[in-house]
Symmetry: D2
Subunit: 337 residues, 4 copies
């Protein structure tokens, strides 16, 4: 921690600060500059009480942390890139993985038709919401366990693995029973109890970024998974809230190189929510692949105009197959398979 | 719903849109303007499937909802202002209620000392966190049930009512047993399962605004409480995330007149988190009272510099007593008691 | 400046950093912590080249400034609160000043009617736009010099002083000839050439905060006025852009205590743009007065429904007179006149 | 315009709204829905007074525009993609154009060395700031005319065309004399007088997006250029302000497909400011090319660690040459040259 003192404070006031720093277990180190005196507090910021409280002292101007708060998710802690095994597939390896499927599981016909189509076009993982978090209590909340059973059936029939959202601690075991990857949605990105419950199932966890989350907060949320003994964490950017009204969210592709620099965990891009419009999803996928994403999570629906939730952002089956073809030169350019 | 068509589309394309609108249960009403044709879709937007999906159709430029999505929290549904009874106290009545106490319950001495002091200075409700949501898994997470028991003891000794945070569905009954008001924190403001669990305890619920939440989303989150048969909801502004770095959050006092216009539920202001600095809390309280807040939620600590969490934003016992005195002329000017 | 080095770098890499720090004129001071080595660079950050460039060096993790960049606007540089004389009126003194008038000057009848009404209700300064910055080139851009002449006529007839916006360097002398205070609008808050031109006229300058400006940037923009030999600067908060859609902007009243703490310059609140709706302006004014604003800048129009620009946010003459009455208890509570 | 009336208003109140709509030159068209009555106002929203003022009427709930406000920049007005000729080069054609050079022109050696190196590596346009907008008055403000002359010399020696920033109306002719493209910076993106002055020089204009600008506002700012008889406009994304602190700004690559859909003007990406760190620029360039950018604007410096401004985000000469090689497969994949 670095503590910047106010200019022209008395020796007595300065000593009080130094005393408190020592009391909290740090060793103070004083540097006198031209206009300000700065105190470095030597000690492990993660195991000691935070010194941020000093920021409210009359003689202190600001307090700045020096260490990064995240540890297990950081590349410092784990130099090599982590890979996550999902059955026979590897996320974070040379092969770009495609997770595709409808926003919500609606019925058997819709899901099977979509599952067969995305498998044929090259996807390896089936996405589909059985429990849906909806802004309004009057909107469709998902089929629940019935939806999970349909996903399991689609897995049996197509060989696709399954990713679906977990939104209640109370469902953790149930969802883990039917799903190969647990998805934590943006609105629950700092629902730490849910993260712990997800981690404890032992299944791989895909953690979406919150709507206005800083990358440091995202990494720390991921730390809740790894520190609960689950190493199989992947991050997923799905768009942040900005002032823009043209799209629902702004997909932040710069998270790809940043997360890869700061963390060893694989990085997934979900362009559907970020674009909020099917006609922009394609360009987002090109960019994501070029910038090094390990996997894409894409909403696909047999009849987007009839989808029960978020229809505007889902590709048709034909649109998805076309996208898979068009992605090939970018996958090659990025040195992926 | 209003559907704006693209300019110069064919009659056939237009008819397809009209057909889909009818299929989804609305009655289309066509208006031809100078550059655009606009279709009004007559029907209840809350009970029918959303037409937003039309936004992805090639012939549609935009889709705009006309109705408000929230219902039970709205002033339209309930013209008179709601009051919430907490024991002998009323929130939303003529009396300005003061909820005060430490950010976290740390130990018996700290809590009792604070409780007695805030009661003496005029507070009627004791706040204190027993379960704390922390950005990092390595920070102090609260005393848990032990903290709840200390709160209950403070209630017995001082006559203050208790408000404390609920952050896990699994704790709903436990926390409700010890607390008079359940607080839902900003990070859980769209944790809809937690809102339902809180509503079902029957206790009054204080819903903090999420860090980047729109007022419409906040009202809809509140709708989850009322639609689960709990009419005792109050909203609490605690600061939104902005680009500003001087304070941790930006307290949005304009929520007071807006929530009072849109909703019948009482409005509480928590200036401590918004200011992030004890030295700004006082001015925030003046403004909140002048603008019509029904209650204030204030962090107070016997020794702010030693607080285990968020010390920088807590008032000392003396600071709190002084604030209570200074508020008097503003309470009178606002026509409150 | 504080330079945080990456963990486990070689002695040689560390020395290169120290060498560069010396080369740029600072004296390096090394502190070895538990996980990181931190270097304090002693020297005046305002007169030396910035060390921020070190942030891109492979061996450096982050660079943090210690000094504040603003100087003349700061309270450190000028302990007592500045007052600005505008004719016989004082801004920043005990008297709360009211600046009121239409968003745009439309014609003589509209302006004179408004000027007489606001003067009668207690305003001392007349606002009115002659040059209007408009998002679209197809919107009304103001009457220009004709508008300035009408403002001058209103001043002669009513004794009110005049504030109007300057939006082009080329108009600086012209606008200064007719106006007692020059207003710099939010979109030009970092148009530094315009700030310099305004400062050089010698007239008091009211600097609105930019739509997404940090307080530090605002203070630095003000520094362009004071460092061009014009001490008569006041800051004006008018609402920042947030995600909220209920109001056009979010009025940040916390700027009042913050600016008063950091700077000696007077602080003005413009609630009209922040609220974006006349029906919220009244509550905003209560809050602004309670929190210590030195002046209010209020849009008033004889017939708001016919206003040529921004009608939705203008009070009627009757609404303004009523507000002036209602403000009295809050002015008294705040210890102002 | 669509005007949504409040529920349950009287016939008389409704008629007043209809009367006002007619008075302002529109033809009202009433639609009665389940809970709301909606009025369509038929008429050209660009030539008539705005009806937004009705939003403040007691009987009106909201007012929604139907038409887009921009016209000349829109693809509706100009179906084919515009190309801009800069000497022998074309921006917006099949060839990806590279604009490269230092943030600021510092001296002859620095500029010539950079110009020769970027020309050799494949750039066709030289960037370099002679007038620099700086947040603080105490930072380096650029070499001014001397810098322009050095740019002209570099053009003669290397055959590169020149782009440089215009930041004062007073400099328009001077800068146009030395430069092939005029750059309008983010802080001046809504300095409409500057946009008009730039347009009138007749030189191509590159308009950067403001820090918190919506795409509609950006297009409207561009409309100021085209409506002043200058068809040679290109848009340039350089990163928007978000809550993220890891990078200085967040580069919004989704602007590429959006601007190309809404407008016929070419689209340029400046990754240097968005990344704020040289080590992220490379990945941003891959993404920009994959998503269809027409040109890249890249900061390059012979010795980034010594740059006088924004050093942290400039590539070295070697880094730039390497990037140009690495871009090749992505350029091919995107079907460009």
């Amino acid at each position: 921690m670095i503590i910047v003192l106010k200019p022209n404070i008395s020796k007595k006031d300065e000593n009080e600060v130094l005393k408190e720093i020592k009391k909290l277990g740090y060793k103070p180190h004083v540097m006198r500059g031209v206009e300000r005196t700065v105190v470095g507090a030597i000690g492990d910021e993660r195991t000691h009480t935070s010194l941020e409280v000093l920021g409210s002292w009359a003689q202190v101007e600001s307090v700045m942390p020096v260490q990064k708060k995240y540890k297990l998710v950081s590349r410092e802690a784990h130099k090599s890139t982590s890979i996550i095994k999902v059955g026979k597939q590897i996320i974070g390896g040379k092969k770009l993985q495609i997770m595709a499927g409808p926003c919500s599981v609606e019925d058997e016909v819709q899901l099977m038709k979509t599952a067969h189509a995305v498998a044929k076009a090259g996807a390896t993982i089936l996405r589909g919401g059985a429990f849906k978090p909806r802004t309004s209590p009057y909107e469709f909340q998902g089929l629940g366990e019935k939806g999970l059973k349909l996903l399991a059936k689609a897995r049996r029939e197509t060989g696709l693995y399954v990713i679906t959202e977990l939104l209640s601690e109370a469902h953790a075991e149930l969802v883990a029973e039917y799903s190969d990857i647990l998805q934590i949605g943006a609105r629950n990105a700092q629902n730490f109890q849910l993260l712990i419950a997800a981690a404890k199932t032992g299944k791989p966890v895909l953690l979406k970024r919150g709507l206005s989350m800083r990358i440091e907060e995202w990494l720390l949320a991921g730390e809740y998974v790894l520190s609960n003994n689950n190493p199989n964490l992947m991050f997923c950017e799905r768009g942040i809230r900005t002032f823009e009204t043209y799209t629902r969210n702004t997909l932040d592709l710069s998270t790809i190189p940043i997360i890869k620099k700061e963390s060893h965990c694989p990085m997934v891009i979900d362009p559907s929510l970020g674009a909020g419009r099917a006609d922009l999803v394609v360009a987002m996928c090109y960019g994501a692949v070029a910038m090094g994403a390990d996997a894409l999570l894409i909403e696909v629906h047999p009849n987007p105009a009839e989808a029960w939730s978020d229809g505007a952002q889902q590709l048709s089956l034909e649109g998805f197959a076309k996208l898979m073809e068009e992605l090939k030169p970018f996958i090659a350019a990025a040195g992926r398979e």
